[in-house]
Subunit: 255 residues, 2 copies
């Protein structure tokens, strides 16, 4: 049995609370938040507190607060030599006060409030300085059916940039296609199955192998027609830059 | 019962053949290809031919050949006033010879050879000059459980550009995140669930509402840290341009 104290009341803390409550070998000993009313819904199921001095012993303390607050909260914990982790993709392991045994338990996924989370589809990036602590995080991840990856603080910084490309920037391309369809009275819905299939395709095939379209074909005529037709200068600049990126990747001449 | 003659032996023609064969109210009267051996596997199930002069009467002739060949093939058909459509996203309806009743039956999806296609997830963009012909395409689409959209030739040109952003360019962002993860010995697999979730999210929410991350938060500190860390100049340029695009979309100050 792994005992856990949760700290924070945001999306990540709440989703962890729910999945831990349903796991056989995990006990949420306590849930702390600065403001009790954010977690008071759960008071009949778990010991809640807004007093750091009232924190109970546990195998791991999970700090799921905003990046800027991690350092301060970890410092304010009135004990030392216990295992304390944060859940952030951007913060360093060393943001946790050095009086603790430190670690990271970062779920790499986009969470929607209210919607239930299937943790078997949430990769967990784990890090710890002590071997036994790492083992505990592995067990924690496996108990909630997550796939885990050992990722260092430096790697996590790189991974965060890759996630910005794969998630935020990809979503902005969806937004741009939405703008383009709307500009010509076409329903954006017509593109949704294609968007889903594009994401599904690379689950079993490298993006390199999955590439199609005018740029990878070297179809200069179509690229020119498209550039002529795109009026928005930002869309045009992106079209050019992404086309160059594709031709570079595939060793083709610039179009 | 709608009778169909298929022309061409590529991915699109083959997938249409399979779904039409399984539909109750569609009869594939004949399948033409310049080279018989490409379709000879099916000779026991359908009348195959490599002779345009042997083409039988049908309610609709579906030309599923490369864009450049549409005009020539339609001209070579030894009849007139019959209903002839092509399946291309980029070609004009007017690429079909004007001796025919003309139309377009364009499946907006990325097809993988061999993998079976679920046409309920393939939007069909249809166009025809005569009302009755359009009605036939609607029936054809509905018979194979596809959602159809009436899209003009001009709209289809716009849609093709939007699809390049939503599919090819999105896939290139996946490729770039692959490069970024590999550069730091991180498995690309860790990003795959995020990629899938990002595509799923916009099925029921606008990309505008779905946006998250440093750019939309106006998180200057993180954007600067990322730009400092990205070494590849093309990745850097894309990061800047896509961040600008997000801040513009959401009416935020440039970061």
């Amino acid at each position: 049995m792994i005992s856990v104290v949760l700290i924070g009341a945001g999306n990540v803390a709440t989703h962890f609370y729910k999945v831990f409550q349903n796991a056989d070998n995990i006990l949420v000993t306590q849930w702390y938040n600065r403001q009790l009313n954010n977690i008071s819904t759960y008071k009949n199921n778990v010991d809640i507190t807004d007093d750091l001095n009232a924190l109970k012993p546990a195998d791991v303390y999970i700090i799921a607060v905003s990046d800027d607050a991690i350092s301060e909260v970890s410092k304010a914990l009135p004990f030392q030599d216990r295992f304390v982790v944060h859940t952030s993709g951007a913060a360093s392991l060393y943001d946790i006060d050095k009086k603790h045994r430190r670690g990271v338990f970062y779920p790499l996924q986009t969470f929607t409030k209210d919607a239930d989370v299937d943790f078997s589809k949430v990769p967990l990036c784990i890090e710890a300085l002590v071997k036994e602590d790492l083992k505990l995080l592995v067990t924690l991840a496996e108990t909630i059916n997550s796939t885990w990856y050992k990722i260092s603080t430096e790697q996590r910084k790189t991974l965060h940039i890759a996630a910005v490309f794969a998630n935020n920037f990809t979503n902005q391309l969806y937004r741009i296609s939405h703008e383009i369809t709307e500009s010509d009275q076409i329903e954006f819905d017509v593109l949704k199955p294609l968007i889903l299939e594009t994401a599904k395709k690379i689950q079993n095939m490298s993006p390199y192998m999955a590439q199609t379209g005018p740029a990878v074909r070297g179809d200069k005529k179509t690229v020119r027609k498209h550039l002529k037709r795109i009026k928005n200068p930002q869309h045009k600049a992106l079209y050019k830059l992404l086309t160059d990126s594709i031709t570079d990747t595939h060793g083709r001449k610039k179009l």
